[in-house]
């Protein structure tokens, strides 16, 4: 692998950038792999990377029906944070956060992870109680968290309208929160995994599973049968489709989540801002676009189109909270298919099929978990038992009642 650095950039500039290598190969699938990962999004790519790097399993294939990172990886609003309420959530998101903090160097690919800070605004007494509880919990879990007064919020974000409908009463700040460049995460993991021998196979759709006596033996694909000792399914919005192929159901529903960007502007929003009561969340990308997230459509859909009514609901709040946006223009809107659980927590699990593992249910907030999710999933697949951080997220919690209900307490889930 060519190492990326300012020196290699200069050296390659001298040869007109004609000597850069492929970031990843495009091999034909082998007959069999130790592990087949279904889904070439960032979570799947990260899983393969950590399988190779930390578990010594390099005979791994990633099967992607379209292009790498083409699902929610490339469609989300790129927020990264680890300020969750429950201990189980804190553990996995903070595990991810620690990996984020070295990810560019680890992958030798600049994922532009930017810890610009993340603000959760509180607009009413209930919100204040919610951030009070969560802020303390995060703090006592050893994760950074600060309470801000409205005045402190204004100092950080001078363009905010504190005196909006539902005035800003306070905020919870995670300074280590921020955003990253979503495509780069997929590409960086792909390149690094490929370098360790992982086969990345794009345009390869899984059409069925080869299951014998309750044990998975391989996958049927648009490019033929591929044998697999173990299968990890990381297909986000399409997890139910995969589960149905394997003969079971998931506690999931898939909804289109809507987002949009404005035209690019010189820096004006400094952090990531999330508001439940006024219902908008936004940040400004390095390119200058305001990245604004909306809610998801409330019916099951597998279409990634942008829908109008959700956008319509978000623009009023945007203008209310940031009046300067009135004359700015929306440049592009789109949707991504998110797989949502009842408790708004992910599922990392064994399945009724032996040697088949699922990692899904990240809902509207999977991007931030990418490194942690891939890491614990890799260990879970390698060991055949869920990693301790992953264990609480087993699908069985929906039978025992041990839900990890981030939805119940949080004002708005991302």
């Amino acid at each position: 692998m060519n190492k990326y650095s300012v020196f290699s950039l200069v050296r390659n500039a001298m040869s007109y950038h004609e000597n850069w290598q492929k970031a990843w190969r495009s091999p034909d699938p082998k007959k069999e792999y130790d592990v087949v990962i279904v889904g070439g999004g960032a979570h799947g790519l990260a899983t393969a990377y950590y399988l190779a790097k930390e578990c010594g399993i390099t005979n791994v294939a990633i099967l992607e029906k379209g292009w790498l990172g083409g699902g929610n990886t490339g469609r989300n609003t790129t927020i990264v944070r680890s300020n969750y309420l429950w201990d189980e959530s804190s553990a996995i998101y903070e595990h991810a956060m620690k990996l984020w903090e070295n990810l560019s160097q680890d992958l030798n690919y600049n994922v532009m992870f930017s810890q610009r800070g993340l603000l959760h605004l509180a607009h009413n007494v209930h919100d204040m109680q919610e951030i009070g509880r969560r802020g303390h919990a995060i703090h006592l879990n050893g994760i950074d968290s600060e309470f801000l007064t409205p005045e402190q919020v204004k100092e950080i974000e001078p363009t905010i309208n504190l005196d909006c409908r539902y005035p800003v009463l306070g905020a919870l700040l995670q300074r280590r929160g921020g955003s990253a460049r979503h495509d780069a995460v997929a590409w960086g993991y792909a390149r690094a995994a490929d370098d360790m021998g992982v086969d990345i196979i794009q345009n390869c759709e899984v059409t069925g599973f080869d299951i014998q006596d309750g044990v998975v033996k391989g996958v049927e694909t648009s490019r033929g049968h591929i044998g697999a000792k173990k299968v990890g399914v990381v297909t986000a919005g399409h997890s139910s489709v995969m589960a149905n192929m394997a003969g079971f159901r998931m506690p999931l529903e898939s909804f289109p989540l809507q987002a949009m960007v404005s035209e690019p502007l010189k820096p004006v929003i400094n952090t990531v801002i999330m508001s439940g009561a006024v219902h908008v969340y936004l940040s400004q990308s390095d390119k200058g676009e305001l990245v604004v997230g909306a809610g998801s459509d409330n019916f099951v859909s597998y279409s990634q189109r942008g829908s109008f009514d959700m956008m319509d609901h978000i623009v009023g709040p945007l203008k209310e909270l940031f009046p300067f946006t009135s004359r700015l223009r929306m440049m592009r809107q789109w949707g991504g298919i998110v797989d949502v659980t009842v408790d708004r927590s992910p599922i990392i699990t064994k399945t009724p099929v032996e040697n088949m593992f699922f990692n899904c249910g990240w809902g509207t907030g999977g991007f931030k978990a990418t490194p942690g999710s891939g890491n614990v999933f890799a260990h879970s697949i390698a060991n055949g038992e869920l990693h301790p951080i992953a264990a609480p997220f087993t699908m069985n919690r929906f039978n025992t009642g041990a839900l990890i209900d981030e939805g119940a307490a949080a004002a708005v889930a991302h």
Binding site: R249, P251, S254, V300, S301
Partner: protein
Amino acid sequence: MLVIKCPFCGERDQTEFTCHGEAHIARPENPDELTDEQWGDYIFFRQNIKGYQYERWSHDHGCGRWFNALRNSVTDQFVDTYKIGEEKPAIPSDEGK
């Protein structure tokens, strides 16, 4: 922004409606006889079909009535809507592809 045919009011804008997920899941007659798995399956596990699926909707900002629908989750188009208790329509032969 779909147009949805309320079986009571006729065609109305999607913004008047709420979807409530998979239809035709009956509440178990005697929950005590179910295992935790069977009970969990009833409250949490869903088919989440990519293609034609039966759903429950309600006309919240209209007549307030709940009804069922057969809809394609890929094209988002409705095949039909029907009142609670009515026979469910057949899935079209293209199988939602």
